[in-house]
């Protein structure tokens, strides 16, 4: 065994250390094997759905729910399995709800982190930190329950007008489960973790850097904007990636509040657009997991899972690229 990697290469190595090293290495490798196995498993399961549809799988056309119903009611003979699936409304809903929530959450979390680090009095800082950690740890079902018992009926009965309901009633029903409620609850869910990470990053910017800026005569907010935030950018990107991953994978809450119809909300409808329901990929998987025993249906569900898996892998990669290109402006420590 080579000892060149160890910092104490000159001394004979402790056997306990060696054993710990092997054990930890084995664990790390096991995680890699597990991930590889998971990816292969999901893709093997999902393959018939992709192979049958080709690129049309990602396109629009027809009604997703009807297609799922047909897949579910496939004949018993494997050669007659129905696989037709045009998943565009689900992909669009996922991108729409995740995108808007992450944008909102980034803005809110950045501003509140600045407030907590730079402007809040000490007692408030002491109060806010545990509260934010608590918020970040609330299980998503709890948010889902609040959404479905309070927000959805409120929007359905008081915010959405009869005129708006009537304007689209032959296409879709506006019952309160909507993109807007989904985005609101999701934003509340992912903001705390972003605030926590951003706060820590801003705090670890060396005091001397902002003091240097202040010595040049700029005010606190400007110093923070031009020096502090710039130095903390990699951490902010990391927070964004983490939040996006959570938003992408959020299933239960969204299946409860954002509507259970495979519908692509139309931005041309104006404000009504926000009141239209949409179902994300993860919510679709949860809603339909009952049907896994029907083989082609199960394979279609696995295809949704495969798309989620790819998006989160791509997300981590994009985050890594963004961070490494920003690193030259900042501390090397992280």
């Amino acid at each position: 065994m080579s000892t060149s990697g160890s910092p104490s290469a000159a001394q004979p190595r402790n056997r306990t250390d060696q054993r710990a090293e092997v054990l930890l290495g084995a664990l790390a490798c096991a995680v890699l094997v597990l991930i590889a196995f998971m990816i292969v498993f999901v893709f093997v399961k999902a393959w018939p759905s992709f192979a049958d549809n080709g690129l049309a799988w990602f396109g629009a056309g027809g009604n997703v729910d009807e297609q799922m119903q047909n897949i579910f009611n496939s004949p018993a003979d494997p050669s007659d399995y129905v696989y037709t699936m045009h998943a565009w409304p689900l992909l669009y809903a996922t991108a729409l709800i995740t995108g808007i929530s992450v944008l909102l959450a980034t803005a809110i979390s950045l501003l509140s982190a600045i407030f907590i680090v730079e402007f809040a009095p000490v007692f408030m800082q002491r109060l806010l930190r545990p509260v934010i950690r608590l918020l970040a740890a609330v299980p998503s079902v709890v948010y889902g329950l609040i959404g479905i018992l309070v927000l959805v009926p409120f929007f359905g009965n008081h915010v959405i007008s009869d005129g708006e309901k009537e304007s689209v009633r032959y296409v879709i029903q506006l019952d309160g489960t909507s993109v807007l409620v989904g985005v609101l609850v999701l934003t509340v869910m992912i903001t705390p973790i972003m605030v926590a990470i951003t706060t820590d990053a801003l705090r670890s910017v060396p005091r001397t850097w902002t003091e240097g800026a202040a010595a040049l005569g700029v005010n606190r907010f400007r110093a923070l904007r031009t020096v502090g935030i710039r130095a903390a950018r990699p951490a902010i990107v990391a927070a964004g990636v983490l939040a996006t991953a959570r938003a992408l994978g959020e299933a239960i809450m969204l299946s409860m509040v954002s509507g259970s119809v495979g519908f692509a909300p139309n931005p041309l409808d104006g404000v009504t657009f926000l009141f239209e329901p949409a179902r994300t990929l993860a919510a679709t998987v949860v809603d339909n997991s009952e049907g896994l025993s029907v083989k082609p249906f199960g394979q279609t569900i696995y295809a949704f899972a495969a798309i989620l898996l790819i998006s989160s892998a791509f997300l981590s990669f994009a985050g890594w690229v963004a961070r490494s290109s920003m690193r030259k402006y900042t501390l090397q420590a992280r």
Partner: protein, 273 residues
């Protein structure tokens, strides 16, 4: 030496953890165990029946009851993970071969609307118009107290209740594609209860907070379902792989033939005879 001892300790601890799941069936060998999974509609009925059965036969078996939905039950029993799969839907052509659907009871499927909108009744054409999406406004429904748009709540395609509704009420006509699909009876009840313009369908046991709509002039009640007057009645099954044998056969036979079981079923469901 000390390290080796520690390692042995760790290994034996691991072995214990690994053996733990294996020891559970070993302990149960003394008595036969009947495991069930599947339909959320059948689960409360199965639990009540099992409690009674244990009293009657003096704890002659062990029961384990899981839920998950009709299709989970069918898949589990086909794969041999459970002895009985509970199902609230009829057999389908795509089901795995070799399964036996043992009918144990009937269940009424009720049409429900909000309490603020007590509709006096619907016939099949009315149901098809509303749930098919051709009538989208309450002003087009005779007897509705509500005006404005109809909010239709249906179930996900994998649900046994959805399957039964399509067969009994809709026939060959299609569901409205804009309807909101919910994952369970409880969610449909909650949605209709909180939306004055809502309409949906649930199992009879889930009608406390909503108005039940008479179908073809007959109220959706236990009595009407038992007498056979109410049209929206479906079957509940316990599915086995091959014909039931041993303790399982005794148990299913007790459900379908004994007076005590009929009495338990008749509290909220409809016995076979």
């Amino acid at each position: 030496m000390k390290n080796r001892l520690r390692r042995v300790g760790l290994l034996s601890a691991l072995a214990l953890v690994a053996a733990a799941p294996a020891t559970v069936p070993a302990v149960a060998v003394a008595k036969p165990t009947i495991t069930m999974s599947g339909s959320t509609t059948v689960a409360p009925l199965a639990a009540l029946l099992a409690r009674k059965y244990l009293k009657v036969c003096d704890h002659c078996v062990n029961f384990k009851l899981l839920q998950g939905g009709s299709d989970i039950g069918v898949a589990d029993v086909a794969a041999g993970r459970v002895t009985i799969g509970n199902s609230s839907r009829d057999p389908k052509p795509s089901d795995p071969g070799g399964l036996v659907f043992n009918k144990i009871a009937h269940d009424a499927l009720c049409l429900v609307s909000n309490k603020a909108n007590p509709i006096a009744g619907l016939d099949q054409a009315g149901v098809q118009a509303i749930f098919g999406g051709s009538v989208r406004s309450w002003s087009g429904v005779p007897g509705a107290a509500q005006t404005g748009t109809i909010d239709v709540f249906s179930r996900t395609p994998a649900s046994g209740t959805q399957d039964a509704f399509q067969k009994i009420f809709m026939g060959s006509s299609k569901m409205f594609s804009g309807a909101s699909q919910k994952g369970s009876n409880g969610l449909v009840e909650q949605s209709v209860a909180s939306d004055p313009g809502g309409i949906g369908y649930v199992s009879l046991a889930f009608t406390k907070n909503v108005h039940t709509i008479p179908y073809k002039g007959v109220d959706c009640t236990l009595r009407n379902a038992k007498s056979g007057q109410y049209g929206g009645v479906r079957n509940l099954y316990m599915v086995t792989r091959g014909a039931p044998t041993g303790a399982t056969a005794k148990w299913i036979n007790w459900i379908t033939h004994s007076k005590a079981a009929s009495k338990v079923i008749a509290t909220q469901w409809v016995p076979l005879n």
